[in-house]
Symmetry: C2
Subunit: 237 residues, 2 copies
DNA sequence: GGTGGAAAATTGGTAATACCACTTGACCAG
DNA sequence: CTGGTCAAGTGGTATTACCAATTTTCCACC
């Protein structure tokens, strides 16, 4: 099956991409107000509903905020729906570390909850995720798919859909540009092997239905990830 | 900056939330095809462009895939393989309670972190939020704006942007239709006065920079909220 | 000159309608 | 069985209209 299906390029995506490019290039910096929908439509030679669809996409991405009767504002570090944020600059500069810290807090509690209520099928799913990671390592590729699945499966084992959504969201944040750049930099099989061992310790504690051990094992894993990340960060900067 | 801007709930988000809920509840499992746009618009009593805007949002989230001429298909991460279906019914029946449980886990840790690192201005912001709640109560309106601000300000006091985003996301989930229906049902000043007192206990512990007490106070508050919610839930069903 | 309120202008929100492009399924011919 | 055609259905885009919210302008009054 060598053929890649050809999907037509929807107009809203084209418009969103163009606006995103203008934001990224600095034409519209954080806090700036975009031209009105009607003007954008005229300038881009498209209809206003198409512009609106593009803006919905950008709004869902968190790149812009739409204010009724006022306009469309570019979001970004230090800009949150018109509020002046005390933590804005910290957020801008420390994103990836904050993410890891947030994961430390949240995923360790997820591991503890999972240890309390995990079902056999969920244990099997977590093991499958480890298996997938191993296969990816064997194929000389970054085991990101398996990694993601491991963490999501643990969240699912909590039996709490909201926590699944949170872990998923944190994972998606993990695919942001800064984090990803660093991941590419410090990719090495040895590090992943350490991570695998840490994952196995988490699974062992969950299997043993020991919440405290599960929390502790996940904290250890994410703390090690934090350290690995810090080492890589210092090297790059 | 004591006032939280009140954003009206855009129709596309309401529609997207309802569709997302149907997907999560299993009404439309992975691979299923949603009703046509025109039918959805008719069934929901809205215009087709509004449905399209909602579908754009869901598509950007990766929850659905839109095929020109064919229809809209559910992608639905977390419901991709057979094992995940074991937790499907739990999701359907326990959505609002799951949310509260997730908040119990996450926001209690946020309160503890806030107690460790809170700054004066952040304390003032949390107090302002309580002030807003009081003003809303005095005006005989549900102090939802102040409530939201209270929780967000605590997340901000953690100094961790990712946690702010998580708490914000959980709040947004809180405005889903099922949760909101129940909130309307059990609205009563006496309950909010209890909640205010619990909030004050949280603030007191954070002010005292006592992480354990802050965690404990937030857990108490959210546990009480859980109980209030359960009582209301039993009455309604 | 300054302030407050009303009106006008602007901007986004939603709906209705029209028409086009693509997909799917049915049917028929070879 | 395969390929072609056609009709129906579905999403895509555009135009127009009107409503709701916000901002700006104007004017009266002190």
């Amino acid at each position: 099956m060598p053929f890649q299906s050809i999907e037509p390029r929807r107009l809203y995506r084209q418009i969103a991409d163009q606006i995103r490019g203008l934001i990224r290039s600095g034409e519209f910096p954080a806090g700036a107000r975009l031209p009105p929908e009607r003007d954008l439509a005229k300038q881009l030679g498209v209809s206003r509903p198409s512009v609106r669809e593009a803006l919905i996409a950008l709004e869902v991405e968190g790149l812009v905020a739409v204010r009724i009767g006022s306009g469309i504002y570019v979001m970004g570090p230090g800009v949150k729906n018109g509020e002046s944020e005390l933590t804005g600059t910290v957020h801008a500069e420390a994103g990836p570390f904050e993410l890891l810290r947030a994961r430390y807090v949240i995923e360790s509690e997820c591991a503890a909850l999972a240890a309390k209520s995990v079902k056999k099928a969920q244990l099997a799913a977590i093991e499958d995720a480890l298996g997938q990671m191993q296969r990816e390592l064997d194929d000389d590729s970054q085991p990101l798919g398996g990694d993601r699945m491991f963490h999501l499966r643990i969240a699912e084992a909590t039996g709490n859909g909201a926590l699944v959504a949170v872990v998923k969201m944190l994972w998606e944040e993990r695919t942001g540009p800064l984090y990803k750049q660093l991941e590419d930099h410090y990719d090495s099989p040895a590090l992943w092997i350490s991570a695998m061992a840490e994952h196995r310790a988490v699974l062992k504690a969950i299997t043993a239905r020991d919440p405290a051990a599960a929390r502790s094992a996940m904290q250890r894993h994410l703390n090690q990830a934090y350290k690995r990340f810090s080492t890589g960060w210092d090297t790059l900067h």
